[in-house]
Structure formats: structure tokens, C-alpha cells
Amino acid sequence: MTINPDQPISFSRLHRLQWEEAQQKHVILYPEGMVELNQSSAAILQMCDGTRKLAEIVSDLENQFAATGLHNDISAFLEVALSNGWIQQH
């Protein structure tokens, strides 16, 4: 599955992204399951609010972390997220 650069990306309504105090990390929750996220994965998914497209997510994160050249890493992670059903485009 590939990310369509012309469509905004939203987080799946069948999953929940949440900060877990006890684990000191973000997790994705879904029926009878949980995925633990590292800091950068959580930051990317938090950008998937249904308004931003891929390029905007990249530029916003590059601003947030004062970094450049993040496009490939972010795009690769979002493809994994899409194939896992954590995000959607339509």
C-alpha cells in the first residue's frame, strides 16, 4: 500500500491513539490488542488528523523537530501504518 500525496491522512476510527502514563509512551488500542509506539511514530500519527497531506505532515514535523530530510522515513512509516489499518485516506 502506498500513500496518496494528494489526499489528507486521518487516523483510523476503528483504533485509538492514547498516552499511557503507566508505560510512559503512546499506544494504539484496538479490539483486544495494543501496539506500543516510540516517540517519533507517535509524533507522526498525531499529525494524521484528516486535514494534513503527506507533504504538510513532513514539513510540520521538520519544523517541530528542527530537522530536514525526514520525508523518506515518515513516508515509510505511514505506509506501514496504512497497511496495518491505523490510518486511512478517503
Partner: protein, 375 residues
């Protein structure tokens, strides 16, 4: 956890709240204890709220609302709301019996995250026979309503000898109902299923055929529907890593408040399982005899003790070791390294002989009348 010295103990992640043993269905593979009818008391609404709060504080995040049939609890929406406010992901595990659209909307408003509906078979006749109640059409209607109101829909079908031949129709039904997840749960032989095993355990050939059909379907619906396939451990070489290890992840609270490291542990002798009426969840999880009983590897006997796979499967299931070998410390006999492995072969042969016999005995259905014979 402050105040608790043993830093090797991981906090609970999964809380299974068995809200009640009451159920309008009579499935002969029910995981409730055979003598469930003798436990008449149920925790109050406030008790459950306290349990949810305490377990959440320790780190539990997945909450299963189960039973029995949890819809028989009139306070279900109130409990869901409390759990959701605490940040749990709330899973309602129901037969669908007693559910209607108003209730589905009420639970949605309360914050329920997901509904798992069980269906017993792909045909009305067999579903209603296994469930012991006319319920098939209603269940399908509930599945539609679950989807309509935006819940992820998980369809659960328990697989055994009476319905395993319906695998293609079961998969087609899941697709037609628009399930987001399909749980194909090969029967685990505890409680009522253990008693009915000769009548429920399929042959190895039946398993292989059904599994191949399910596998092909899984590839076909990849990206649309997720399949959870609960393996039939009698036909495996190694035991399941039961409960992800004793007292590491799972906490079950029975209707009367007894805290269990797994939902079958009530059958094990001498654990002195604690009760939430007497102790806090933190005391139960970190300090109680029952939850520490099979933690780590010290309790193991051979061949587990020196086995290089013990960190992978934790010696398998304690309840299965107890039910099939009489000693809960033994290696799960499913393991081909177990010196008692022949009990599995015997169970398979006995089921096969029963299937071929002309005068097959009837299933023992899970109801209060039958339960009373066990206490």
C-alpha cells in the same frame, strides 16, 4: 510500583471482568466453571468501579466486559462510562442476546469502544442447537447494528466437531456481515468443553482442512478483515504460551470478586485465590499467593526446568496440566517432550471412537440444572 519490592513483576495490562455467570445461552463449551451455579453473589456497581480504578492505576488498559452474558447487568452502561473515563479500551464480549438498537446507542454514548458478537454456526438450525436458544437471526441483526453505529465489529465463532465442516459458510457469513475482525476460536478444552470433549474434538484431518480454508480466506481479505485464529493446541507439538506467562499480563475478576490469573484457574487446587472484597488489586497482583504461584521458572519440573524453550511457552497451561495429568506443576501434556504426552493421543482417539459410535451420547449443555450436578 512504590511500596512493592519485587521489581521483576510486570503490571497487568488486561483486565477481564466477568460481570455475571448468568447467561440465556447454554453453549456446551462454555469456559465458566462447571459448578458456576453455586456462586450466587455478584459484585455491586461500586465494587466493579473500584476494581476498574485500582487496576487502571497499576497500568491495565484493555478491559473485557464478559460473563456469562454481560448484558444481563442493568448497570452495564454505567460501568462502561466509568471505565472509559479512566482511559480503558472497553471490549464488550456478548452473545448479542438481549441487545437492541437503543442499548447499542446507549453504550456508544457511554464510551464503549468495541462489541464482539459470538455466533455459534453459519446456519440457524446448528446455531440454535449449540446455543440451546433460538438466537441466530437476532445475532445477525445485532452484528448489522454494531456496524451501523460505527463500532469495530468482531465476530467470534468457536470451532468444534459439530460446526467445523461449515468453515466456508462461516467465512462467507463474516464477509456478508462486514466483520472487521473474525475470531476463529478452536475450542479450548476446559470447564464444559473438557466434559464434552469426546463430542467436540475434531480429527486432525478436519482441523487441517478447515485451517487451509481459513488461511486462503485470510489472504483474500487482507487489508479488509483481520483474522484471529486460535490454534487447536491438541494438534500442536508445543504448548501455547498460556496467558503470556502466569501473573505477567492478565487479571480476571470472577462475578463474586475472586481474582484469577486466568479465567480457568478457579479449578486449580490450593491457590487460595484472593477476593477484591478483601484486598486491593495492587496487593492481589503483587503480593498474593495465587498470583505468585507460577511466576518465573522456579516452580517448574523436568522436562520444563532445563528446557531451552521455557522462556517461550512458560511450560504451557497450568489448568491443562492439572486437568489431564492431575498435577498442575507438570509440563503441559500437549508438549511432545512431556512424559505424559500420551494422554493427548488418548483424548484424540477417544473422541474419534465416539464420533464413529452408533449411539453417540448427547452434549451436556451449560445451564444451572446441569451445573448443580458438579457441587
Amino acid at each position: 510500583m512504590a511500596g512493592y519490592n519485587n521489581t521483576n513483576i510486570t503490571p497487568p495490562r488486561w483486565l477481564l471482568a466477568e460481570l455475571t455467570y448468568a447467561c440465556p445461552l447454554q453453549c456446551p463449551y462454555c469456559s465458566n466453571p462447571l459448578d458456576y451455579a453455586k456462586y450466587k453473589t455478584e459484585l455491586s456497581t461500586d465494587d466493579w468501579k473500584r476494581v476498574f480504578s485500582q487496576a487502571r492505576q497499576l497500568g491495565a488498559v484493555q478491559l473485557g466486559l464478559s460473563g456469562g452474558e454481560p448484558l444481563t447487568r442493568q448497570d452495564l452502561p454505567e460501568l462502561v462510562k466509568h471505565a472509559r473515563d479512566l482511559g480503558y479500551y472497553t471490549n464488550l464480549i456478548t452473545s448479542g442476546y438481549g441487545m437492541d438498537e437503543a442499548k447499542i446507542m446507549q453504550l456508544k454514548d457511554a464510551g464503549l469502544d468495541h462489541i464482539q458478537v459470538s455466533i455459534q454456526a453459519s446456519s440457524q438450525e446448528l446455531n440454535d442447537h449449540i446455543a440451546g436458544t433460538a438466537s441466530f437471526e437476532h445475532k445477525k441483526q445485532v452484528a448489522h447494528l454494531v456496524k451501523k453505529h460505527g463500532y469495530p465489529m468482531v465476530l467470534c465463532v468457536v470451532i468444534h466437531r459439530e460446526n467445523i465442516h461449515q468453515m466456508p459458510e462461516i467465512l462467507a457469513m463474516a464477509e456478508e456481515l462486514g466483520a472487521d475482525y473474525l475470531e476463529l476460536a478452536n475450542t479450548q478444552y476446559y470447564g464444559w468443553a473438557h466434559t464434552n470433549r469426546d463430542l467436540l474434538l475434531p480429527t486432525k484431518e478436519q482441523f487441517a482442512e478447515a485451517e487451509a480454508i481459513a488461511q486462503a480466506f485470510k489472504e483474500k481479505v487482507a487489508g479488509k478483515m483481520k483474522i484471529y485464529y486460535v490454534v487447536p493446541d491438541f494438534y500442536e507439538d508445543r504448548p501455547k504460551a498460556c496467558m503470556n506467562g502466569w501473573g505477567t499480563t492478565f487479571l480476571t475478576i470472577a462475578p463474586d470478586g475472586v481474582a484469577l490469573p486466568c479465567h480457568s484457574a478457579r479449578e486449580l487446587p490450593g491457590l487460595d485465590c484472593p477476593n477484591v472484597n478483601d484486598d486491593s488489586i495492587a496487593d492481589i497482583w503483587y503480593e498474593s499467593k495465587a498470583f505468585n504461584f507460577f511466576r518465573g521458572y522456579e516452580w517448574m519440573q523436568e522436562p520444563c526446568r532445563s528446557c531451552d524453550e521455557k522462556e517461550k511457552d512458560f511450560g504451557g497451561c497450568r489448568c491443562q496440566a492439572y486437568l489431564l495429568t492431575g498435577d498442575m506443576h507438570n509440563t503441559d501434556p500437549v508438549c511432545s517432550k512431556s512424559p505424559k504426552h500420551e494422554v493427548i493421543t488418548q483424548a484424540i482417539n477417544s473422541a474419534k471412537a465416539t464420533a464413529l459410535a452408533a449411539d453417540e451420547k448427547p452434549l451436556l449443555f451449560r445451564n444451572s440444572k446441569n451445573s448443580k450436578a458438579f457441587y
